[in-house]
Symmetry: C3
Subunit: 341 residues, 3 copies
């Protein structure tokens, strides 16, 4: 519960209504109860808003004039951003940071844990690691030798950070994620693959969020780098010596091969695959399953793949694809013959 006036202040919205009104949570327009906050970001929901049972409605000032909502309102230019800010207020998990070290944790001698940092059960912190203030390390996490967690960083349960990794301030890393595993580097030899030991580390900037079961490899020589403000979803693979520029967003199941350099403010939809040793400039956007095999020098939106179809039709088209070069040659021949080329 939070007083509406206080909530307005925290999210930077203008209040039309009772500052003492108690808000219990956030919900959708159709499900919100009389003690909950809902929001609309687009005019097509104005009609639905007028029928909502929500106690509070957040919307843009321009839209407020057209709205016929009975309850309290919060006015903010970007209601979606307002919703994002309000969501933090109601996240009990995130706000619960008592500052304690579980007695079952194994903290290497010489490592200092700040008083306001919380360490869960069975956490292992190796020698030389540095843990910032106000961190929260969930049960079962491992922080390797000499690795660094910046102030305010949250590791959910069962995160693995190898040695020689630095994570910046106010990052969130979800369960099952591994940072600093060896890059996939091997030299061929007569006796089979000879491992190239991965001597670099991983540097993660500030305000980075990484989803569950993602894997980020350490560099072979020099570091893998995730810049400030990057957001990464679940089950993403980032190979050794990749560089991801600031504020780039990477959705689930993407894979980045080694030494590729990605610019700032890019977005990758799910299951995109990016080949190694290429460079992608700032402000590039890739649709789901895109196959990125060359450097991209022009900002813009890119896609690849072929559309899903009923299986019989798709099978026929697939066979035709495998003959596409022959078909094109035939067409060119025909065109020549009848004087069209």
């Amino acid at each position: 519960m939070i007083a509406l006036g206080e909530l307005a202040k925290q999210i930077g919205a203008q209040l039309n209504g009772d500052a003492e009104f108690q808000v219990a949570g956030i919900n959708t327009l159709s499900k919100a109860s009389s003690s909950e906050l809902a929001f609309i970001a687009r005019p097509e929901f104005l009609e639905q808003a007028s029928q909502s049972s929500a106690g509070v409605l957040m919307l843009a000032p321009a839209m407020a004039e057209q709205a016929s909502f009975r309850g309290h309102t919060l006015l903010i230019d970007d209601p979606y951003l307002g919703y994002a800010r309000a969501s933090q207020v109601f996240d009990a998990f995130f706000n619960h940071r008592p500052g304690s070290v579980d007695p079952s944790a194994s903290i290497a001698s010489g490592v200092e844990i700040p008083a306001d940092t919380t360490i869960g059960a069975n956490v292992v912190v190796a020698e030389g690691a540095v843990v910032g203030q106000g961190c929260k390390i969930g049960p079962g996490c491992y922080l390797g030798a000499g690795s660094v967690l910046g102030d305010g960083t949250l590791l959910h349960a069962n995160v693995t950070i190898y040695h020689g990794v630095s994570v910046g301030e106010n990052c969130v890393i979800h369960s099952g994620t591994v940072v600093g595993s060896d890059g996939f580097g091997f030299a061929p030899s007569e006796a089979g693959w000879q491992k190239i030991h991965q001597l670099g580390g991983v540097r993660i900037g500030a305000r980075v969020e990484i989803g569950a079961n993602t894997a980020i490899d350490r560099g072979a020589i020099g570091d893998t780098v995730i810049s400030d403000g990057v957001i990464i979803d679940n089950l993403v693979h980032i190979a050794h010596n990749v560089f991801i520029g600031v504020n780039t967003a990477i959705a689930g199941c993407c894979g980045f091969a080694g030494s590729t350099k990605v610019g700032a403010n890019c977005t990758f939809a799910g299951q995109v695959g990016v080949t190694g040793h290429i460079e992608i400039t700032d402000n590039c956007h890739f649709l789901g399953k895109a196959m990125v095999t060359n450097s991209v020098t022009e900002p813009g939106t890119y896609g690849s793949g072929v559309p899903m179809q009923p299986v019989k039709k798709w099978r026929r088209n697939m066979v035709r694809f495998s003959q596409l070069d022959d078909l094109s040659r035939l067409v060119n021949k025909l065109a020549k013959k009848i004087g069209e080329k």
Copy 2:
């Protein structure tokens, strides 16, 4: 070892042979020994069955008449289903449930562990969690605050269940899987991505099985839902507020983007990608690597992608694909010119 008569009873088969015969295990037709059970589900294996050393053969009554097998037989209409049932009998791991709590487990005060539930080493159960009867929680698992495990549910080692997740009865979740991690929700702002705290949970029905290293995100507002009887393989990504209908089967490496609703009795082969905010009706089947970018309203089988080819041929066809629109225009022009369109 189990007596053949008892085995027949447990799997619902009719016995032709010695009820006291001791069965040691299950094996393939070609490898089964004289103390093992083998099965055939299709007539083309009748010849092989006649030469098998298996002690017991399970098959359909209709096929039994044509079989010339020397040993004992078990008759059942669906021998593949019979095999599935028999497999449980011989799964020593699954049947081993002594009911004990490892002294190294951290169980929050107030959480009751039923006498027939087994808790492994280093398990952490947070405050307010509810653990059902006959559960088995493997070493290193984490069960978050207020989360619920239904009766008879099995978590293998190192599973992570966040707070606010409910798992139904008789589920199996494999190692490394994460349930309840934050959905990938962020609002753009001038200061970069603003996290949208994920205030919903995850509801998993009864008899759900989830493979290894899968990640299922909690809802932004409201829950992510996995219905009764769903089966999910390894390394699958299920985003926030996805709904999966009853008995749907999802193979390895699939990804589902946010708020998509999948019907009942669907099947997804490996590496299928499903975009967000769409609806897939019941009884839809997707072949491997399918790219599902639109709602599917007709039950049926769907595919996408192009066939693998030797690299030179494929490269030529790929180039032609990138000119396909031009080619099509040229063909239409030719067709017009010679009076075919």
Copy 3:
């Protein structure tokens, strides 16, 4: 620090220079300091080598004649392989193996831990497991009942090995990886999916390296097999009863469906999908995102997929692909009409 003479001996290179010179590490040509080793494997870097500040340069004897490098040199026929060997010398993590058992580890009674094996905090070793000499098991790992780790094998933190798994000598398995989870086997029944209990195990050969958050399922009947010298990257899915031949290399995010048999010395680039029950012969190479739906009997390189394009152009070509069969028929009709077929 290592004396250059000693380093030369360990990697099998011929030294031109001071055997007592102390080498501090490895770096790239452009970044190496006067105490570091750099290498060149191709003549196009000869110019850059002449300007490098590196203290030591490793290169092939044939190239050494053309090089104008001021420092010490190491001559070796395959400098990339030399680099791989040298990298091990400087891997402090790998070389740190003191031999101790953390008091928080749970070792089942009867399991013997060799004196030179290291067991980290919160490791759980179940009954009947066998741990080889000189192994290192990182914090939070689980080794299931009856499973075997060969001599010199390294499990990084939070690896999960189920029961009935054998891992050969000198393997490396990275964090979050799961070996021995149940294969995705279910029989349809009127009551929904009936689980087929997975009664086989997993056999991993010697000198296998497996990346982070990979999942390798146990066999349904009989074992899943990973042969000697195989290397597997992060987030790879290997289903039940798959067989991978010696020295095959599998990059990140690949998926292999059940019972497929892969030959020796194959390579799979990222995100390749391989269907079940097929056979791939030795020396096959698959480009990124290849969709392998049939057995491959000819060694060679294979690819699939269509190239990424700016979104407008791609959308047009995609629509044309869905009409490709019709287009081909029209072309054939035209060809007939004008006497070209």
